[in-house]
């Protein structure tokens, strides 16, 4: 399992060994057992999300009004909600949705961060100035407030959420990429490539990008947790993925809330899943950062 964890994030770096992934996983498990455990737990959730259709014992909207608000039992491991829907199945499908949003939005955010960060850091001068002032303006506003306002304009829905979250975290993250581009740019090999007449695009691709990759990988990992939380927050406020799609955020809000006093288990599972997923990916991201980017250690 943890081999795949490393595969997901370490594929682009390295060329030392013929099996860098295995090397890296070994290092992760040896030096950062907690981080490796985090990666493993995240992979389990990812697995549940991918195979939700097969694992889930019931459909997401299979209602059985005779079995409403049943406490957890063998046939309903996490109980049923106010419409008699199986909570476990909804949690599993919720994992699917969370993972789809997380990977696509974090991916989009990372791409935006790379493009803005490279342009701003490498070209410097006026380009840098303009991009950075726009990033400043963008970052003045609280994430959630910005999200709420934008969603209220474009309307809720999965693609919208992915694009908005991608933009939001992408623009904020460009700072981090820019910072590391600025330091890589001053290296001798970059100057050498420039004096040999290398085109900017070539230098960016061959020399700068590979060297900022560790930062980018860490950024991507930490963004996954942030995106999952943001999506849940939006869904909780009723601005995320519209019902009847089961998301962890919306399971904690809306009509379900009034029934929690009768079935407290309804309040537990979605929040616990959210916490575990975000916690595990954060721990994993921390370990990754320590291993890949010693300068950012402990920050």
């Amino acid at each position: 399992m943890s081999t795949r964890a490393a595969e997901l994030v370490s594929a682009p770096i390295s060329s030392k060994s013929s099996w860098p992934i295995i090397d890296f996983t070994r290092r992760l498990v040896r030096d950062k057992p907690l981080g490796a455990a985090g990666g493993l737990i995240f992979l389990i959730f990812l697995f549940c999300g991918i195979f939700a259709d097969i694992i889930a014992p019931y459909g997401i909207n299979d209602t059985d009004l005779h079995r409403r608000l049943e406490a957890p039992s063998l046939s309903f491991p996490l109980g049923t909600d106010h419409l008699g829907r199986d909570v476990l199945s909804r949690i599993l499908y919720g994992a699917q949705l969370s993972m789809v949003v997380a990977f696509l939005a974090a991916g989009l955010a990372t791409i935006i961060s790379i493009v803005l960060g490279l342009a701003s850091g490498y070209f410097g001068g006026k380009v840098d100035m303009i991009i950075q002032r726009m990033v400043d303006a963008w970052m003045t506003f609280p994430d959630l407030v910005l999200l709420i306002v934008v969603v209220s304009v474009v309307g809720p829905g999965v693609p919208q959420i992915i694009i908005i979250l991608g933009l939001l975290y992408g623009i904020a993250g460009s700072r981090i990429v820019r910072g590391s581009v600025v330091s890589v740019k001053e290296n001798m090999y970059t100057h050498a490539a420039q004096s040999m007449g290398g085109r900017n695009l070539y230098i960016l691709r061959r020399h700068i990008l590979p060297n900022v990759m560790p930062v980018v990988i860490v950024l991507f990992t930490t963004r996954i947790g942030a995106v999952i939380l943001a999506e849940a927050g939006l869904s909780f406020l009723g601005l995320g993925v519209p019902p009847p799609a089961p998301t962890w955020g919306s399971m904690l809000s809306g009509t379900g809330r009034t029934y929690m006093y009768l079935g407290p288990w309804l309040a537990l599972a979605p929040g616990l899943c959210l916490t575990i997923v975000v916690y595990s990916i954060n721990v994993y991201g921390d370990a990754l950062r320590d291993l890949l980017d010693p300068r950012m250690r402990g920050r």
């Binding site: 407030v145 934008v150 975000v278």
Partner: protein, 290 residues
């Protein structure tokens, strides 16, 4: 210049549809929505400069009044949360740095990571549901202005403030720890120790003061987070602050209110950052002399 939420306002105005189904044009004319978007935007900016943010489209009260009524409430929530966050983060962060790599350090670091992962709306939900199921106790949900009954008011605000503060404390705690570790390795700390200063004086007088500067910056950076968190917690605990106003306005497509809140948030964040910059002078004599 940072405050111009132009494109967003344009977008918002582009999408306006008042769902009354009656005489659309007449309503639009009455509300001034029939002008071009650019014209609307500039008239909004022009009015905003003179302190007029327009009227709410639904309640026909000036947005300024609504903001004046809700801003102090959110401010109080934020202030309380900040106090909670700092009184949790600073001691634990410092302790964690002093006892690096001990069990206490690991526990406090895990705790801060955990606080980053727990969504505040879930914590809020748990606080609402479980005490009421187990002990028939539930948090206060009736808002009473501070001026009427300070104690009752604090009773209501305390739970959301603690939740908000805890979620904020995570990052501050990590930052405090990092900075304290860095400061404790400095030469002047070794000198102070060599001249026989007690450990507690050393930490309080030499280390904390130097380590605190980046932490103060972080507090400024966290201001937007505070406001974002307030939106969710105000909704759960029915605190009639700016967050709740924003949410209602968004659901009702009440654009002047949304723009007004947006403006205040932007100005607020800028002001907090200005205060943070000014506070460097107080904390760090080196800055004062430059």
């Amino acid at each position: 210049m940072r405050l111009i939420p132009g494109d967003i306002i344009d977008l918002m105005l582009a999408q306006n549809d008042i769902a009354t189904g009656q005489d659309r044009a007449a309503i639009e004319a009455a509300l001034g929505l029939n002008q071009s978007l650019v014209a609307q935007y500039f008239s909004w900016i022009g009015a905003a400069l003179t302190g007029d943010l327009g009227n709410s489209l639904w309640q026909n009260v000036p947005v300024v009044d609504q903001l004046a009524a809700t801003l102090p409430i959110t401010f109080e929530l934020g202030l309380l949360a900040m106090i909670v966050a700092l009184s949790v983060a600073l001691p634990i962060g410092t302790y964690s740095a002093m006892r690096q790599d001990t069990a206490g350090d690991y526990i406090s670091r895990s705790f801060s990571l955990l606080m980053l992962a727990i969504p505040s709306f879930w914590l809020g939900t748990l606080v609402m549901v479980f005490p009421s199921v187990w002990w028939r106790w539930s948090p206060e949900l009736n808002y009473i202005p501070f001026t009427e009954d300070p104690l009752q008011n604090l009773k209501h605000m305390l739970v959301p403030a603690v939740l908000l503060g805890l979620s904020m404390s995570a990052v501050t705690m990590r930052m405090t720890r990092t900075m304290m570790l860095e400061v404790m390795r400095q030469d002047y700390i070794r000198t102070a120790r060599a001249k026989g200063l007690s450990e507690s004086l050393l930490v309080l007088r030499h280390a904390v003061r130097n380590g605190l500067i980046p932490v103060v910056t972080l507090i400024g950076l966290q201001a937007p987070l505070l406001i974002g968190g307030a939106v969710i917690l105000e909704q759960i605990f029915v605190v009639p602050g700016m967050g709740l106003l924003l949410l209602e306005a968004v659901f009702q497509r009440d654009y002047p209110v949304v723009s007004g809140v947006f403006l205040i948030v932007g100005v607020g964040v800028l002001l907090i950052n200005l205060l943070v910059d000014l506070s460097y002078g107080l904390l760090d004599p080196k800055v004062r002399h430059q």
